[in-house]
């Protein structure tokens, strides 16, 4: 049911002239893809510094909340461009991406990373500033930072694996994989 809905939506998106123009345009697609990767460096670069500070691995002589507050703006700018270009890349090739197991894992991991970020910021706001100059943040924030590093590492891996066709619908594979990928929909 969900696979059918997703595929119908993807087919409708893919039938739009601008979607077909985009996938057919060598330079436009490549520029958008390059922007996606380059802004991933800005977003993740800033995020890594915040996470490493919480884990006591960098800028330990700078208050942890200051590191978080100051790097939030460039991080959000990077994220906004990265997610926008990500949507455009999906729009350019919706059926293929919808039937990619790696893309599906990536979306689940992105949601998990988003929930983790929300919990992390909630915990950061709720915590008193007495630990701010400590090298290590409180345990709850350290767990959030470690989870953030782990989840985004997995997001990168899934994004990279999307280039591989191991589980594409034209490959002979079991019923479970076909269901997980959303193939064989009548």
């Amino acid at each position: 049911m969900i696979n059918e809905l997703l595929l119908n939506f993807a087919e409708w998106l893919g039938s739009q002239p601008s979607s077909q123009n985009l996938i057919g345009s060598f330079y436009m697609w490549n520029w958008i893809e390059s922007t996606h990767v380059l802004t991933l460096m800005v977003f993740l670069g800033m995020l890594f510094v915040i996470d490493l500070r919480m884990l006591g691995l960098t800028l330990t002589n700078v208050p942890a909340t200051k590191v978080n507050d100051r790097l939030n703006i460039p991080m959000i700018i990077g994220f906004a461009i990265m997610i926008t270009t990500g949507f455009i890349l999906y729009y350019a090739n919706p059926v293929h991406e919808t039937q990619s197991i790696w893309f599906r894992f990536k979306v689940v991991l992105l949601v998990a990373a988003g929930i983790n970020a929300w919990l992390f910021h909630r915990a950061l706001k709720a915590s008193s500033g007495s630990w701010d100059m400590d090298a290590l943040a409180p345990k709850r924030l350290r767990i959030g930072a470690a989870l953030s590093l782990g989840l985004w590492t997995l997001v990168i891996i899934m994004g990279r694996l999307m280039a591989y066709d191991w589980f594409d619908c034209d490959k002979p594979q079991g019923a479970f994989i076909n269901w997980a990928v959303g193939c064989n929909i009548q």
């Binding site: 060598f26 490549n30 893809e33 390059s34 990767v37 380059l38 991933l40 460096m41 800005v42 977003f43 993740l44 670069g45 800033m46 995020l47 890594f48 510094v49 490493l52 960098t58 800028l59 002589n61 700078v62 200051k66 100051r70 790097l71 460039p74 590492t153 990168i156 891996i157 994004g159 990279r160 694996l161 280039a163 591989y164 191991w166």
Partner: protein, 158 residues
């Protein structure tokens, strides 16, 4: 010609064969490459935006630059290690790819710039340096590392 012989040898070496044969391992190396590029990008931007007075204006730039440089070195080591493996799998293709050479030139420039110009300069007390020198170094650094990343991305398109 000699260089081509080296690239042919690299692709036929055990490393090249491993990179060709194990798609999953290759993908993990690509991911580690991308991960460390993000880390390197973060450390470069952190230092350079501080030198430009955009970030952490109330934190001494020596503190920011010294902390960032430690992780810059870690990221660079992973980038170089994973990069050699990635090139080994498609060495001959890389040899004939213009953007590969643009990237190698930009990367060599970036490394030389960091270790021969930027670090020796930033190891000094920044208060004693003229602001325009610090800002020029920051702009040059952002430009050179942006070029490395952009030309690297374009290798796959050409």
């Amino acid at each position: 010609m000699e260089l081509l012989t080296f690239f042919e040898w690299l692709e036929s070496s055990m490393l090249g064969q491993a990179a060709k044969s194990y798609g999953g391992v290759y993908a993990m190396f690509q991911s580690a490459h991308l991960f460390s590029m993000a880390l390197l990008g973060g450390t470069v931007l952190l230092t350079d935006l501080r030198l430009l007075g955009v970030l952490f204006r109330d934190v001494p730039s020596n503190v920011v630059a010294d902390n960032a440089h430690k992780w810059f070195k870690v990221a660079l080591a992973i980038i170089l290690g994973t990069g050699v493996f990635m090139v080994a799998g498609v060495a001959i293709k890389c040899y004939h790819n213009s953007f590969f050479w643009y990237k190698m030139t930009a990367l060599a420039t970036g490394i030389a710039f960091v270790f021969a110009v930027k670090r020796p300069l930033l190891n000094q007390d920044h208060e004693l340096l003229k602001p325009w020198i610090l800002k020029s170094v920051a702009i040059a650094s952002i430009l050179v590392w942006f070029t490395v990343a952009a030309t690297g991305r374009w290798i796959g398109f050409s």
